[in-house]
């Protein structure tokens, strides 16, 4: 059933090649903007994820906390917050001496002043500033705990960066969506006008709006598909250029590419169907 409409769409695409190519490149420009943003977003997300993985909470223990108490505390932490690793006073000193390295400084420090601690890797849901602050407060209530540190300032910065990225994603998405609607509406209007005689004859023969509109919608989908491919090629080129200068810049994963193309097609479908509903009312009686 749809073969006829696809044939009609392809026929129109070929008959009005200039208009079709202009549409493809206009859409490609808008989609490339979205693609570049996705590339930045993907790589920033990867970096943030890597940094986020290193978010730890250090729970310093009282010197008089016994082994059984520490194990009980670890069990409680495992139940409520995440995984924990015990670092004894000796291990803490060993790490400290490795980091400092200078024997003169170590001699000045004298005996080991470092307390035993638990390094807590929080669950992903708790890896944000408000949740971490709350966890810290709760942990400080335990009698075995002397203090809790988690680098609140940079956690806040990371959270702000994440929120900013999300807001930017919404803004760029809206801009691209509006650009696509604008391009498709105007292109389809031109396409309908270019085929006005055909549309009028079809309406006189009793064609429903859906019958008349479907080839145009399919044509818009074809153009959007081509535009998405062009945009992805441009973004791939950019990624290759960046990868030569910056380590770790990777291209979008398959799921993101599929979502990008699928989103563009859905948007094109909605935009073209809505535009044609308006345009066809101005053609034919």
């Amino acid at each position: 059933m749809h073969l006829f409409f696809w044939r009609e769409a392809w026929r129109s695409f070929q008959a009005h090649r200039g208009l079709a190519l202009t549409t493809v490149f206009s859409l490609a420009a808008a989609l490339a903007l979205a693609g570049v943003f996705l590339l930045v977003s993907w790589n920033a997300g990867q970096a943030l994820h890597w940094i986020g993985d290193r978010r730890e909470m250090i729970v310093y223990l009282n010197d008089d906390a016994g082994e059984a108490q520490v194990q009980a505390l670890q069990a409680k932490i495992g139940e409520l917050y995440g995984t924990s690793t015990f670092v004894s006073r000796a291990q803490a000193w060993e790490e400290f001496t490795t980091q400092v390295g200078d024997p003169e400084i170590l001699k000045a420090v004298g005996t080991n002043p470092l307390p035993a601690s638990l390094r807590v890797r929080l669950r992903p849901a708790l890896q944000n500033f408000p949740a971490m602050s709350e966890c810290a407060k709760q942990l400080e209530q335990f009698p075995e705990v002397e203090a809790v540190r988690f680098g609140g300032e940079w956690v806040q910065r990371l959270d702000a960066l994440n929120a900013g990225a999300r807001r930017a994603a919404v803004a760029v998405g809206l801009i691209v969506a509006l650009a696509m609607v604008f391009v498709l509406h105007n292109t389809l209007r031109l396409a309908v006008l270019a085929r006005r005689q055909q549309v009028e004859i079809m309406i006189k023969l009793g064609a429903s709006d859906g019958f008349v509109a479907t080839p145009f919608v399919f044509e818009a989908l074809l153009e959007t598909l081509a535009a998405a491919a062009v945009a992805l090629l441009l973004v791939f080129g950019l990624q290759q250029a960046l990868a030569q200068r910056l380590d770790g810049v990777t291209f979008l994963p398959l799921e993101w590419i599929a979502a990008f193309v699928g989103g563009a097609l859905v948007l094109a479908w909605i935009a073209s169907a809505a535009a044609l509903g308006r345009i066809l009312r101005t053609v034919g009686a």
Partner: protein
């Protein structure tokens, strides 16, 4: 089947139809005779709902009066075959594609339906050998036949022909009129609009005459109604006029 009740149509200051009342029955053959600008095309356009009456009521089947929704208009037009004076063929489509388009619009999308119906219609009008030609490659007579094939391919209940022999030489004109007569005999109501009395004479059937937008002769069909022979009707069933549940009844 078609009924006009006190229909008046104005285009701005110009009066195209003035208080016209007439009706036409199923399977009837009617010739609408009138000079140029007498209102024939307006009357045909009112039947297809391409325009609305300024006052009065136009009823087609069960669709009575008022402005129809776009969906109902499309439904109505799918039961009416129209042969336009200027053919209205798609210049970039072959003869076959022009006729097949009407079949697809009627709701038959599968090639297994479209191809045989289209070929049969082309055979009926004698264009079987020209199916791959573009309209621009055909003579006027052949284009007219193509337009007729497109109008009859879905076996409409009503066939409207606006000056169908206007561009034809006498022999082609006679063939076209014979073809329209045959379609009427198969069960379709055929309304032919012409400026030429000799066409009316050749076509036969009931005559209605329009003059400066007013009906001068033949508004009612009682003296000319030609009932369809039952055997022929069953051999070639024609599409019934539409009966949508609730046509819009907005302003005229």
């Amino acid at each position: 089947m078609i009924q006009f009740e006190h229909v008046t149509k104005r285009y701005g200051e110009r009066l195209a139809l003035d208080d016209v009342s007439w009706r036409m029955n199923e399977g009837e053959r009617v010739c609408l005779l009138g000079h140029s600008a007498a209102g024939k095309t307006t009357l045909l356009r009112l039947i297809t709902h391409e325009t609305q009456p300024t006052s009065g009521t136009v009823a087609i089947g069960t669709l009575r009066g008022g402005r129809l929704s776009r969906a109902h208009r499309a439904l109505l037009r799918r039961t009416i075959g129209v042969i336009y004076e200027d053919f209205r063929l798609l210049g970039d489509r072959s003869v076959f594609e022009n006729v097949a388009l009407a079949v697809r619009i009627s709701g038959h999308f599968a090639d297994s339906d479209v191809i045989p119906r289209t070929l049969r219609a082309l055979e009926e009008v004698g264009l079987h050998g020209k199916q791959a030609a573009l309209p621009g490659e055909l003579s006027f007579g052949e284009r007219q036949r193509c337009a007729i094939a497109r109008a009859i391919v879905n076996r409409p209940a009503i066939l409207l022909a606006d000056e169908p022999t206007g561009a034809l030489e006498p022999r082609s004109a006679a063939e076209v009129l014979a073809l329209l007569g045959r379609i009427q005999q198969e069960g379709a109501a055929v309304l032919l609009g012409t400026t030429r009395p000799e066409v009316d004479d050749a076509f036969g059937g009931r005559r209605i005459v329009l003059e400066d937008g007013r009906l001068r002769e033949g508004g009612a069909p009682e003296h000319a109604f030609m009932p369809l022979p039952a055997a022929q009707a069953s051999q070639a069933p024609h599409a019934a006029p539409p009966a949508p549940p609730a046509p819009h009844t907005g302003g005229a």
